[in-house]
């Protein structure tokens, strides 16, 4: 796996798309390696769906190049389409069709037939847990089941790449959890690219996040990398037992350290405890120094942690203006 993982299965270079006056995607470049689960994160209207529509060769980009498994999307659309399964937004299905017939129809267009096709239908139906509703008309199914039928359709030819546009939109919380764990499961042996405007979705399912805003990529990396990149030198939070007094002595000691830029007391919420946020000067992790200081002064430490800006905050920061 180690070597295979480094092969890019999707290469997008300087992708741009205009719809008339609207400049939806303004030059997006990224690569997705084999086996990655990548979340395309961005507010509504950021250009996520447009990117996916270009990758699936539904739309042609205004400029830029897209390669899937080394093949240019515009030059060999038919070969490229065999490589991926696609779940468009809102799981569009033919409502008057029986689920089984629908999967048959897609399977046939995917080049399957006979016993092969029947086995594949049975396999994907059990994988996404729709075996018990295969005989029903799609229109009578709940939204969660329709999403699964559409997912089954995307998996029918056992594609290497799975492209999912807003896979959990409109589902109830239980269905959301189920679909997410399904995606994680499916991502074990294939490359998955999914778009969403929900941060939790990415954290729950993806190895890597690409944040897109106003048609541009504003961040790209693992959740950890993004946090580290965007929040260097985070403040450290100390909680110290303080049966009496207002903690001004502690504050004075902290502020006296030359490596402390500032210390701010925060409401601890519990009687007998004192909380303080310490912002260190640039460079290095100040937690060990703080622990040493606490030891020297004989304070009884209850808690120490780095105040990372959470991804929610980061996402808001990156996609606000």
């Amino acid at each position: 796996m180690g070597e295979a993982k480094s092969v890019p299965v999707i290469q997008v270079e300087a992708l741009e798309k205009r719809y008339g006056e609207i400049h939806a995607v303004k030059g997006v470049t990224f690569e997705i390696k084999k086996g990655e689960i990548v979340g395309f994160l961005g507010p509504n209207g950021a250009g996520k769906s447009t990117c996916l529509k270009a990758i699936t060769c539904y739309l042609a980009p205004t400029s830029g190049a897209i390669k899937i498994a080394g093949m240019d999307v515009q030059e060999s659309p038919r070969e490229v389409r065999r490589k991926f399964g696609y779940l468009p937004e809102n799981a569009p299905l033919y409502h008057d069709m029986i689920a089984y017939d629908y999967l048959r129809f897609v399977g046939e267009l995917r080049g399957l037939s006979g016993k092969d096709l029947e086995q594949r239908i049975a396999h994907v139906a059990s994988k996404v847990a729709i075996a018990q509703v295969l005989g029903q008309t799609v229109g009578t199914l709940s939204k969660g089941y329709r999403q699964r039928v559409c997912l089954a359709q995307a998996l029918i030819h056992d594609p290497e790449i799975l492209i999912l546009d807003e896979p959990t939109v409109g589902l109830d919380p239980n269905q959301v959890v189920e679909i997410r764990s399904l995606i994680k499961e499916l991502g074990k042996d294939r490359t998955v690219i999914l778009s969403t405007h929900i941060l939790h979705e990415v954290l729950a399912t993806c190895d890597r996040i690409i944040i897109i805003h106003k048609g541009l990529i504003v961040a790209d990396g693992t959740p950890r990398e993004l946090l580290e990149r965007f929040t260097s030198n985070p403040p450290v939070l100390l909680r110290i037992a303080l049966p009496e007094g207002d903690g001004s002595e502690i504050m004075a000691k902290l502020q006296a350290q030359e490596w402390v830029e500032r210390a701010l007391s925060r409401p601890a919420g519990i009687a007998g405890e004192f909380e303080v946020e310490v912002q260190g000067r640039e460079g290095g992790d100040h937690r060990t120094r703080l622990v040493e200081l606490v030891g020297r002064e004989g304070w009884s430490l209850l808690e120490i942690r780095r105040e990372m800006l959470d991804l929610e905050g980061l996402f808001r920061k990156l996609t606000q203006e």
Partner: protein, 238 residues
């Protein structure tokens, strides 16, 4: 070709999976039957001929067939199913041809049901089978062209209503222009007759199978379907 067949099969099944198909065919049979037997007084004329049937059905087709095709692509676009279909390994021309094949299948079923009329006729007298066969072939070609116009109109919009109106309009232009022009401008008649559905169709009804008429319908059908394919493809224009 395999994809066209798969698409066509699904389309035809979709027509018959709802009550709409049965209602449409019943309405067709009733309207044509009432006009043919009651209004035109088939039993009074005492003639074992389907001539008035073959005059009436084309008129009816102009309004009936666009209703068959109005959903075909417009509704797929509206529901978003088109996006899924178009990202399967199938080309736009195969989508158009498959949709068209399904519609022609529906037309064939409708025409097959009307075979009760000539068969009934055979019980009453001795009809001119050549004219009847010619008439049916003519209806098939005419209907196929009207369906192609309907499919083309269906690629232009997401609204079934707009699709129906445009389809009917195009059919009506090709069908009625000659009659209109004939009223006002006698000299242009021949030129207009050349592109008129009516004049080509009437040769079939007279029992004359002329390659020029067949070629005309084949060409105009192909033209509509090519435009439909271009129209679907236009989403990929930069």
């Amino acid at each position: 070709m395999r994809n066209v067949w798969i698409m066509g099969k699904r389309e035809l099944a979709a027509y018959f999976s709802s009550a709409v198909a049965y209602v449409a065919i019943t309405v067709f049979l009733v309207v044509v039957g009432v006009k043919f037997f009651i209004i035109d007084g088939f039993f009074k004329t005492g003639e074992a001929s389907l001539r008035s049937f073959f005059e009436l059905v084309p008129l009816f087709f102009v309004f009936y067939l666009p209703a068959i095709t109005m959903r075909s692509i417009a509704e797929e676009k509206r529901q978003g199913t088109f996006e899924l279909l178009a990202t399967l390994p199938i080309s736009d021309s195969e989508i158009v041809l498959g949709k068209y094949l399904g519609a022609v299948g529906f037309l064939a079923v409708t025409l097959a049901v009307t075979l009760v009329y000539p068969l009934g006729l055979a019980l009453l007298g001795d009809p001119d089978w050549g004219a009847i066969l010619g008439g049916y072939i003519g209806l098939l070609f005419l209907g196929a062209a009207l369906l192609a116009a309907g499919i083309m109109a269906s690629t232009w919009t997401q609204s079934q209503i707009v699709s129906y109106i445009l389809g009917t309009l195009i059919g009506a232009i090709f069908f009625f222009t000659e009659r209109l022009v004939r009223l006002f401008w006698e000299t242009a008649r021949d030129a207009v007759a050349y592109v008129s559905f009516d004049s080509h169709y009437s040769n079939f009804v007279r029992g004359v199978l002329d390659t020029r008429d067949i070629l005309f319908f084949v060409a105009i059908t192909a033209l509509f379907l090519v435009v439909a394919t271009f129209s679907l493809n236009s989403r990929r224009w930069k």
